[in-house]
Each structure stands twice: as structure tokens, then as C-alpha cells.
């Protein structure tokens, strides 16, 4: 990737001498900051802007590590082949007209994929805006000329976007509005080769990047993406477009992207420790907050608010509650310090309404209150409100210094005149203090910082990263043969479609998952006898190969309470199945809670374990979540803890608490099974009934295929 970001020389194929053209803008942008050799290529010119212009890339002198291609789509494959011939190892293709524009474009794009696979040349794009690197003053892009002159603010946030327009338009917006300081901005485009994972990997190791914000419509190598996120403690924020049904439909028609199952993507990102954003500016605000305070992870969420307005304090307190933070309860020392500057009638409450103290003692009172909060061990972070008609944080540098010395992240909210707001924001930025115009945004960004958890095992993951496979395959922890006895391994190796309930549960049982007691019976007498052994009442079911909707087919009978009923039911089921199925006798389990568990194979993320509430609750609450398989015990416990109604697991109305370790074991085993057996497409365990605190698979379906 270094060839893209830090080449010694660049050939610009499609350079133009005409102002306003993209090929001219790219050239001007290169000349504005790039220190290496710049070699314009255009057969129609011999010189552009004082630089010698070459007829072909083949004529370009050494050293040249990167080509930037901006010629009509139809000519791009030939040009790229010339780059290969010339020995150039990397090209950014900024031309459009590929897979985003119908059949012809798709064919051209396929040709680029083929050239990359065949020759190994790294290709970035097509249909992209290239990259901007603020530290090196590189703008390998047709983004606005005079980019550096127009107020570009260098900072610690790097931006990756899948949408070309956004990369350009949004970057210009950020620059012009001086919103957020940028380290690098990368537009991915159609991803014939370089994709979000390659850029993520590079930016994780980039010393100029403090936080990474990504707008993505698809994640091509979901599993590699998650592994990369988990390999670092650097904050990563993702705005995933197309998570709703409407959004996904829009994504389908916009690019050839696969938007993925919104819930699954969300769970995967959560598991990866990624902060999810919802809007463009909001993503940048969250990134800036995390870049300002990357090492707070694992601290508490107790916030002190210093405000000149009781009303703003109240609304702020509501947001603090909403975003899962809490108002700090001050230590006695803080109460004493506040009492010293407050009028006697005023309680030392949080939010701290400083206005009366300012009226009594002037700005010193503010500083005194602020220092008390910095010193208070009960306070994890401070939010200051500034406004135009009073104390406006002139000395924000001193406040920032005191907060930093105390190890407490400081955030600000400001209202006032344009002049005051702009001035204070500039001062705050210079001191690395995030400052916002809306209270919601301020608290939302605080929550992103304070609620971030250290990535468990980031170090271990880092070791694994170098081996992270680019094809999204999963390292197998076993195989069908080692996990299953011969007969079942044979079934898994050769059968297709849905296995019947009994066979499915035998496979689960072989992996160590608790299943309900049951037997297949061959006659009415056997049915009655086996039922008596299991204990009344029993459930009887008719198992027809490939039939997963037993209840709807009238093949399930509950509450069978006598030998006569059992025998009669055998006859009925047998007749109903016309000899095509088997009859199952099963203990009727009265549990305290119905859960579901399962496994899906996602095209982007590979095998994922699903867990959630079952029964009627499931249909009302839709409280399910996912985690990438294979899972460790910790992953499984975290998956269980993501259940929104997890209080149900803690023993409700006298029921015993669910044994979470045992339940986690079920999920771990499901994940291990799927990892070991690539022919398992899906598993459904529904219901997974909790009885006396233990989770037991009562019905299940294993679906096989190639």
C-alpha cells in the first residue's frame, strides 16, 4: 500500500492542459504538494504547466511507483496493461464508467479484475476520487484545486468512503466549514482490488491517524474486516449505509453492493469494537472525539456538567441518561469547594449551575469549580457549556491543561454569536478539546468516548492479523471427522437439505449440546413403552425427510398422557406420513423460558451464531443478536449479554437464574460445529428451552449443502 500513499514518482495518465478538466485538476493538486517526480502522460501534449508531458506511460523515466489513471473507461484496461509493462506496481483509477453503469462497464471492470489477478498490479478504484494525505500534502485526486489554500484543517481523523461524491463533496464541506481536522481521506470506488480492508489495515498502522471513520455500503471481506478492527485499539467508526430495508434496496440500485443483513452487520461491528455512526457529520464528530481521547476506554461514565444555564443543564442531564452515562455524585471535597463560591441558598448539585457564582465572584469562581471537578475521584469526564453572554471559555487552554493533567476528558457545548462561536471553536481545536453546537451531539460523542471498552485480546489478535486470510475463509478448529462420530460425520459429508429433527439433535448432542430425551419408535407398542419410560406427558412427532414445518402439517401432538393415547398417536402419525417418515417420542419439557439459537452463513461475514428470545416474545420483541463463529466463551457470554431483555435470564418471578456458562457452552459448540463442517449451511435450535436454569435443545434443524 505504501506505493499508493508514498510513491517516489507518479505517472498521471490522462493529464490535461485545460483548466477545469479533471486531468488538469489532478495535475495541479499533485504539483501543490507532492515532492517526488510528476510525469504527465498525454499524447496530445509535450508540456503541461512547465512539466514535460509523455506520449505514453512506457516513456516515463524512473523512479515511478504509482500511476494515476484518468482516461475514458474503454481505454483503461489497455493503459493498465502498459503500466504493468512499464513495471509500475500500483495504479489509482479515477475514471468512472465501470460496474456502476451497466453491462458494458461491468465487462470493463471484469477485465481490470483479471489484469490484477494475472499480473499482481495493485489497483485502487475505478470510479473513485483517490486520496488526500494532509501530513504529506498529497492530493492524488481531482478534488477541488487549491485544496490546501481553502482552509484544509490537518488533524487526526482519517476518512474512508465508498461513495465518490461523498469523498469529494463531503471533504470540501468539512474543509470549508473547518469542522474536523483530517489526516487522510480515501475514496474506495468500485474495489476491483484495494478495498476497505486494505485501507483499514494501512490506516491502523498510520502514525498520523488517530481515529478512522468509514462510510461503507458493503463490507466485501467481512471476517477480515472484523479481525482487523479487533487487532487494534485505534478507534474505528463506521457509518453503514443500507441497514434498513429501504436503505438496502437503495444500496442495491446504487452500486453492485451487497448491503447485508442489517442486524448481522451491526452485531459484527459491535463484536469488533467498532462505534457505529448514523450520519455524515455526526460520524466525523464522533471520530474527532475519539481521536482526542483514544485512551479513555474502560473508564467510568460519570459526567460533571458545568453550565451557566439551569435549563441547558436539565436538557443535558436528560441526554446523559439517554446515552447511558450518568451524572457524577460529587465527593464531599467538591461539595465544600462549590459551597465556597456558591451563594448560601444554592445546593452543590450536578449539573453545576455556575451563573450565580459568576455573578458573585467573577471568572475565578468558574476556575475554582472546574478545578474541584478535576480533582474529584467521582468524576470521569467534564462537559462545559459556554455561551456568548457571560463566561465564554476565553481561557479554554488553561481548562484543557487542568483537565488533561487530571486525566479527564473535557468536552464543550457553545452557543452565541457567530464571531464568538468561531473564535472559541478555533481555540478549543488548538487545544484538542471537542466542542459542539448541539447538546445531543456533545453527549453522544462523550458517550462514544466513555463507553468504549478496551478490545479484549487486541494483542492476541494482532499476532493473528498477519495471518488474516484475504479470502474471508475461517480457520477451522476441527473437522467433521474429529467432532462427530463416523456415522454422523458421514451424514454431514454427504446429505443435502434439512436433516430431520432427531438426526439434527443427534449431531448437536455429539458436540456436547444438551438435547431433550427422545427416541424414534417403530410400533405402537414401542411408542407406549418408551413414553412410559420418559414419563407422562410426552410429545409425539412425525418426522418426514425435508419437512421442517411439522406443526403446520399436523405432525406434532403435545400432552399425550396415557399408553393408549401414545399407541393411538403412533398409528395416526404413521398413517398420515404414508410410511414415508419416522415417529418420535419425546419428553415434554416444561421450561421457564423459551430461547432460540442458530447458525447462518453470511456471504460477507461467514458463519455467525444467532441467539435470542424465543416463543411469542421473540415475535413481539425481535430480540436476537449475532456473533461471528467460532466463538470463545467470552464472545458467547457477550452475545448473551447483548440480549436487550437479558433481565429475563436472571431468574424472573421465582424462576431460577439461567446458567449463563452452560448457555454460552451451547453457543460456543454451535459455532465450533459450523466452523468444522463447511457443509452445514444453517442450524436452527427452536426452541432452546431453559429448564431448571439449563438450556436444552427441544427442536432443531441442521441444513446441509455445498
Amino acid at each position: 500500500m505504501e506505493a499508493f500513499f508514498n510513491p517516489r514518482g507518479i505517472a498521471l495518465i490522462g493529464a490535461s492542459a485545460k483548466a477545469g478538466r479533471g486531468g488538469y485538476r489532478i495535475l495541479k493538486n499533485l504539483m501543490a504538494g507532492f515532492k517526488g517526480g510528476i510525469y504527465p502522460v498525454n499524447p496530445g501534449n509535450t508540456e503541461i504547466e512547465g512539466l514535460r508531458c509523455y506520449r505514453s506511460v512506457l516513456e516515463v523515466p524512473d523512479p515511478v511507483d504509482l500511476a494515476i489513471v484518468f482516461v475514458p473507461a474503454a481505454r483503461v484496461p489497455a493503459v493498465v496493461r502498459e503500466c504493468v509493462q512499464r513495471g509500475i506496481g500500483a495504479a489509482i483509477i479515477e475514471s468512472g464508467g465501470f460496474a456502476e453503469t451497466g453491462e458494458e462497464g461491468k465487462a470493463l471492470q471484469a477485465e481490470l479484475v483479471a489484469i490484477h489477478r494475472e499480473t499482481g498490479i495493485r489497483l485502487w478504484g475505478p470510479n473513485c476520487m483517490g486520496l488526500v494525505d494532509a501530513a504529506r500534502k498529497h492530493a492524488f485526486s481531482f478534488v477541488m484545486e487549491k485544496i490546501w489554500a481553502e482552509g484544509f484543517i490537518t488533524g487526526k481523523v482519517s476518512l474512508v468512503t465508498q461513495s465518490g461524491f461523498l469523498a469529494a463533496g463531503f471533504l470540501i464541506d468539512l474543509m470549508s466549514h473547518a469542522s474536523v481536522g483530517i489526516a487522510k481521506a480515501c475514496s474506495i470506488g468500485n474495489k476491483v482490488d484495494v478495498d476497505e480492508c486494505d485501507l483499514l489495515e494501512y490506516l491502523i498502522d498510520d502514525p498520523h491517524t488517530g481515529a478512522i471513520g468509514m462510510y461503507l455500503e458493503s463490507i466485501r471481506q467481512g471476517r477480515r474486516f472484523v479481525d482487523l478492527c479487533r487487532s487494534t485499539d485505534k478507534p474505528i467508526v463506521v457509518l453503514k449505509g443500507g441497514k434498513s430495508a429501504s436503505g438496502a434496496r437503495a444500496a442495491m440500485s446504487h452500486t453492485a453492493s451487497l448491503a447485508g443483513n442489517g442486524a448481522l452487520v451491526g452485531a459484527a461491528l459491535a463484536q469488533a469494537g467498532v462505534v457505529e455512526a448514523e450520519d455524515f457529520h455526526q460520524m466525523m464528530d464522533v471520530c474527532e472525539a475519539l481521536a482526542s481521547y483514544p485512551n479513555v476506554a474502560g473508564g467510568g461514565g460519570r459526567v460533571a456538567v458545568l453550565t451557566p444555564s439551569g435549563g441547558a443543564g436539565i436538557v443535558c442531564a436528560d441526554f446523559i441518561d439517554r446515552f447511558g452515562l450518568c451524572l457524577a455524585r460529587f465527593s464531599p471535597a467538591t461539595r465544600v469547594a462549590l459551597a465556597e463560591v456558591f451563594p448560601p441558598w444554592m445546593p452543590a448539585a450536578n449539573p453545576v449551575d455556575v451563573w450565580p457564582a459568576l455573578e458573585l465572584h467573577g471568572p475565578d469562581a468558574y476556575r475554582k469549580a472546574f478545578d474541584a471537578l478535576c480533582d474529584d475521584p467521582e468524576v470521569d469526564a467534564i462537559l462545559c457549556h459556554f455561551f456568548a453572554l457571560g463566561f465564554i471559555g476565553e481561557d479554554i487552554g488553561a481548562l484543557a491543561g487542568a483537565a488533561r493533567a487530571a486525566g479527564k476528558p473535557l468536552f464543550c457545548w457553545i452557543i452565541g454569536t457567530v464571531e464568538v462561536v468561531d473564535r472559541v471553536r478555533a481555540v478549543a481545536r488548538a487545544h484538542g478539546v471537542p466542542i459542539y453546537r448541539e447538546l445531543r451531539r456533545a453527549v453522544e460523542c462523550m458517550a462514544a468516548v466513555l463507553k468504549r471498552r478496551p478490545r479484549s485480546g487486541a494483542t492476541a489478535h494482532r499476532v493473528a492479523r498477519d495471518g488474516a486470510r484475504r479470502d474471508g475463509a475461517v480457520a477451522c478448529s476441527g473437522s467433521s471427522e474429529t467432532m462427530l462420530p463416523g456415522e454422523l460425520a458421514g451424514v454431514v459429508a454427504s446429505a443435502n437439505g434439512a436433516l430431520d429433527e432427531h438426526l439434527s439433535k443427534r449431531i448437536l448432542a455429539a458436540c456436547g449440546i444438551a438435547v431433550v430425551e427422545e427416541s424414534v419408535v417403530a410400533s405402537a407398542e414401542q411408542a407406549a413403552a418408551r413414553a412410559a419410560e420418559l414419563g407422562w406427558p410426552v410429545v409425539m412427532k412425525g418426522l418426514v425427510p425435508g419437512q421442517v414445518h411439522k406443526t403446520e402439517m399436523g405432525l406434532v401432538r403435545l400432552g399425550i398422557a396415557t399408553p393408549e393415547q401414545a399407541a393411538g398417536e403412533f398409528t395416526r402419525l404413521d398413517r398420515k406420513m404414508n410410511g414415508a417418515g419416522r415417529v418420535l417420542v419425546q419428553r415434554q419439557l416444561a421450561g421457564e423460558l423459551e430461547l432460540i439459537a442458530g447458525l447462518v452463513r453470511d456471504p460477507q461475514f461467514g458463519p455467525c451464531v444467532m441467539f435470542g428470545l424465543g416463543g411469542v416474545m421473540a415475535e413481539i420483541l425481535r430480540d436476537t443478536s449475532f456473533a461471528l463463529a467460532p466463538l470463545g466463551d467470552d464472545d458467547a457470554l457477550a452475545l448473551i449479554a447483548r440480549l436487550e431483555s437479558q433481565r429475563l435470564l436472571d431468574g424472573f418471578r421465582g424462576a431460577p437464574a439461567v446458567d449463563r456458562q452452560q448457555l454460552a457452552g451451547v453457543l460456543v459448540r454451535l459455532g465450533a460445529l459450523a466452523s468444522a463442517c463447511p457443509r452445514i449451511r444453517e442450524i436452527d435450535v427452536n426452541p432452546l428451552i431453559v429448564s431448571a436454569g439449563r438450556a436444552i435443545a427441544v427442536d432443531a434443524s441442521v441444513i446441509l449443502g455445498d
Copy 2:
């Protein structure tokens, strides 16, 4: 109220000749726009800024309708008495130092309340910033001098805030950032007399006010507030501070406000057709959208999005889904029109990605697509994305005209350079088109406009409004005597505390609420006999006066299945209660759903009916809501429809659907009962079991008191 907003002459008591002082700023503000007589009062001056200054308000000449008081708190009561003596009927007290500052201030404020009650003088404040009226250029406030010179944008949104700082600081922010056009801004302060209801009533009838935004920490006359909101179709937006537990605590210490039960306030506002806001700028944005499109109520929520960026379209689609709107499915005519300007490979999808069409045909393509959306009967509203690098809505006036002619609200989102953004925003504002910098905000404001429903019976309410009582009392629709038979009316009139379950249900039954079949029995034999009549199994309970926690006390036994068990249980309960209670035999009802209903009396909103999910679900989902009593059938049905899990009512897993009319009847009767009987403090119906589709009260508690 007219004396406050449009006085013929104003006495400014506490006028100052010293620049920078509040008493000077108020005077300068008056002189900048007020056309009537201005009479500064200050014994230390004979002339200020060319105006004659009076020693006392008693000397001020006619006509004078309003006094603005800005003297130290201790002197205010005497000054107000002088105003009364002088025959001035209204005073705005802008001085601070009252109830917000401890005991001494509270006493001064109580004195003002007494003067108001005694003399009838209308008092606004104290501890407030007064008012600004843009149409008349009145600034009766010490808000920033040069207010009109500093870019104040006159518009249709009126603002009422309880917090003085916010009224000033926030108004200055809005002015300086040219965010939202203002009609009137009012700071309420401590509400010794004039409160949010008085201002709301005035603004509802104010022709310059198109939408009303209110920041409130308390609603003093909750019921009058709701009645006023329901009396008008003018959009009202409320940001209620202190809805969370943390926020409420902050509210308590900020003012003497009662923050109220967050859920109850939210439900009352919803019932009143108020749009709830969450943040300050967001409230103004929502207000501006509603003021731009006040008459869309009742239309559909089908949105067409026109964007130059597929990525922005996708994120926009996600928000449209999130805020309960939907993407329009275009009519065939629109598809044809789009196909004419699109390249052949491009589907006529929504969001409409116009970039390729712009590249092919230039700006005409945009207009063609826009017109097709205007003509499409499947489209209710249009959201245009503008950005700096391409079509930027130069001709926004023409777009606005076309949309208006088609009767479709138009909204815009813009990113780009500061210059372009500011220019386009100004043009959009001039054409009454709301324009936003964040997609979330744009869609949120669209949803506020499109999801507003016409206030059912606003006309009927309008008639009632003049009679709306200022003391928050509820018109009684009956009395204990007319609703209940003599014996029960006697109990309600004289008993105190919680009535026992059986007596409570007799009262409910007398109002026509279905209750479970049951009897009090006096002996073991009677228990066995009655149980046999009711049908096995039965429930038996011990009723101890005042004891509402029967289950915890071991006084409830379910599943009694034989005469022997019934007799034995009678003996056990009787012994357990030591002769102090009664034994109840009750049919054991197997229902398909557990609900709860009830009644609370709120200090701000009076009697409110509560309804929600019962049982385990209730504790997990906390899905309950409130409505002000008395309720009509429509109110009750709306209350039921506010249940988030209302799908449960529609017949789940083969259970019959709940009879919503019958259920509504239960809620209507609870409300009528409470309205008729002011001694009923609370009612708890828990559970209210749905059996065969009908709601039946299985346990209940009526709590009485004065």
C-alpha cells in the same frame, strides 16, 4: 395580554444612563423600535438619552399600559404597588433574586403573588428576559442591544422559554447564525402570574405566529395546557426538560419546578397533538418546518429523494425508515419520465440518483425529474440533496414554486463550501423552503410535518376553550351518587386508603367494567359449595383491609381443584388472617393475555388513565401509556393504539383478537369513575386478563383519600 405585547406607553422602572447596564440596554432596545411613549423612571436622573426621566412611576404621564421593572428584588414589591396605584395594569419584572435564590427571594416572590391576587395587576416574571416581537420591532428586554442591526431574521416561529439564559443566549445564537426566522420570543421566568398557558393562548391567536416552540421545565396547569393545544391546528413543539430521572433531579434544583412523570407528560403532550423536541436547535428546526408546511396534516408519508449521491440516498433511505416515513414507489408516468433522462442502464429507483442524468443532459434533466415527482400522485413530499460540486439548486425558487403548485412540501439538504451553503440557505429561506446540513435532521423535520395528524375535534375544543378553567379542575361528567349505587357511593364518600379487592371490583362492576366471577364466603362449607358452582379449579384469597400485597403475604392460592382443598384452604386463610379479614373464592381465569389498567391523579394533569401490558411482559417491556381523563371512545382507542406491542392484541398464535371496543370501554369507564369521584386517588386493575377476546378485571385496588 395585549398590554404586554402592544402597550400604548411603557414606564421603564430602573432605567439607567450607564451604557452596559441592563436598565440602559432595555431603554435602548425600547427606543430602537417601540413607537409609543417611553417613560424612564429613576430618581437619580432627569434625562436619559434625550428622554425625560421620572423620579417615580406615579409621575409618568398617560397613556401608559405597561411597566418594565428592573430594580433590585427587595424594591420590586413596593414598585409594583406603585404601578397599581398609578393605574398600570401589567408589569414585566425582569429583575432576578426571587424564588430561584432561597428563602428571602421566595418571600419576595410570595409578596408578588399576593399583590397580583389582591389587585389583579398582571405580572410577567420575575427573573426573566421579557419579550421580543419581530413584526412590531419590540424588544422589551435587556437582550443584546442592536438586536435588529445584528441580523435578526423575522419569521413565523414564536419561542417561549422557561429559562432566562436560554431566552437570551439562545435567541442571540439564532439571530447571529441566521438559523430560524422568529416572530416572537418570550421568556417566562418564575411565573408569579403569567405562565406558559397564557402565552400559548396568546400565540395561538397571533397572526404573525405560524408555529410555537416552547422550552418548559414544568407545566403548571397541565390540563389547561392540553386543552389549549387541542383547541388549535397551529403546530406546537415542546422541549420538556427533566423527563429522565437525572433531568428531573436537575430540574428540582434549578427552579422550584415540578418536573412531573416523564411518561405521563409525554403521553399528555401526544394526546394534545404536540410534537416533542429533544434539543434546542432541533426544536427550532422542527418549528420552522411546521411553520413552512402547517397544513399538510393527514397527508401520507411517501417521500421522493432527489440526490446527486447514491451514498447520501442510501443513508437518507435508512433515516426515512427510522422516522416512520417510506420511500414512494413511483407511478408508471414517473418511471417513463425518469427513463427519458437517465442513461439506459439506470433503473428509475427512489432515491433518484440524478448524477448520471446531469452528466448526460445538464440541469434540464434535474428539472425534468423534479417535475415528474411533483406530478406523481404516489409522492407526498420531496427531499432534494444539494452539494457544492454540481447542481446546487441555483433555481431553488422555481423548484419551490413547482412543489407548491403541486401541493407537495419540499425539503433540502446541502453540503458544500461555506459560501455556497450560506447563499443557497438564504435563497431557500426566502422561498419558505426548509434546508438542513444534516440528513438526520432533514428527515426528522419531514417526519414532524408529514406525520402530524389533524386534531380531531379542534373546532369542538375551540368552543370549550373560552371556558377552560384556569385552576386545572376537571369538568365532572357525573358524581359518585349518579354513577354508583347508594352503598358503594357511601364507601367512596367516606372510606380512606386501599379498599379490598372484592369491594374495589364491586365498584368497577357498578360502572359497567367486566370483573371475574367471585364471592366472599363465610365458612369452609360455603367455600367448597361456591367453588363447585364457579367450576374447578378456583383461586382463593384472603382479604385484609389495607393489605394490597396479598401474594407476598401468602394470602393467594391458585389451582384449588377439589371441595376438600377448598374447605382446607378456607381454614388456613382464616387462621392466617386471625379473623381480621374475609375469604374470597374466585373463578380461575385462563386468559390469552395479561394487561394492566389504572388511574393516577397527577398534580399537573389531573386524573389520567393508565394502560399497558401486564405480567412478566410488563416488567420487561415497560410498555404502558397514559391519557387524560375523562376519555372519549376515540381517546381510549388511541391510548390502546399507543401500546408499542399492540400486535399482541391482534390475535397471536391462534388466540382470538382482543375486542378493542370492549377494552376501550373499560378505560373510558375508569376515566369517568375518577372524574365523577374526586376522592378516588388511584385505581389499579392488575391483571386485566383478556379471555376469549374480552378484558376482565381479575384483581383490582381502589385507593381513596381527600
